[in-house]
Amino acid sequence: MRQAGAYSGILCGGISGRTGPHLLPLARIKKIMKKSGDDVKMISGEAPIVFSKACELFIEELTQRSWLVTMQGKRRTLNKEDVTSAVLATDIFDFLVNLVSET
């Protein structure tokens, strides 16, 4: 009997760009990776899959931190300024400071 494991979606979907169990499209991730630098020539099949998970964790963490700011303001709508505040308050998100300050 076939049991659906955590990666059954991977087995069916592969990396053809379908999301499968991944929350983010692998083809798009691959495109972004390629654009990140001229040095990036070849990307292994597992790299976009790894990033799909890493991005999920990243978005979750930044969202949770932003939501804390929202709650401090006694609001129920998470807005852009909350995300900016969370970035500025978190050392490991220093690489985003210029990005959030531009807009």
Partner: protein, 138 residues
Amino acid sequence: MVDEPDRLLPIANVGRIMKQILPPSAKISKEAKQTMQDCATEFISFVTGEASDKCHKENRKTVNGDDICWALGALGLDNYAEAIVRYLHKYREAEREKASSRNKATCRSSPEKDEKSSEDKSGQPPQQTEAPTARLAS
């Protein structure tokens, strides 16, 4: 502002991940989702850049999962690095299992094309000649 939507992660997917982690009553402004889209895309570029530098220094052409794990650690994103190392391990295990079950399927593919031929008395009923992989799936 966004001229090339293809250069960013899709806003619907980003929004879904945000929604999942927040309380059900929480609302998210469109601008917040757009900012998160930008940040997550930049995250990929940033980590990839670091991973790619490492590959370049080591004269390797292909950025792989291990390089990404390393880059996450090198950039101070240690908690992500640990989680992703575990995830990568499970993924590779799943791939190995898939490959080995595929091998077993090709080994078991029955040579019985002619129902009358009884040279191979493996005891398998004739209807199982059609789809050995389907048999595995049942």
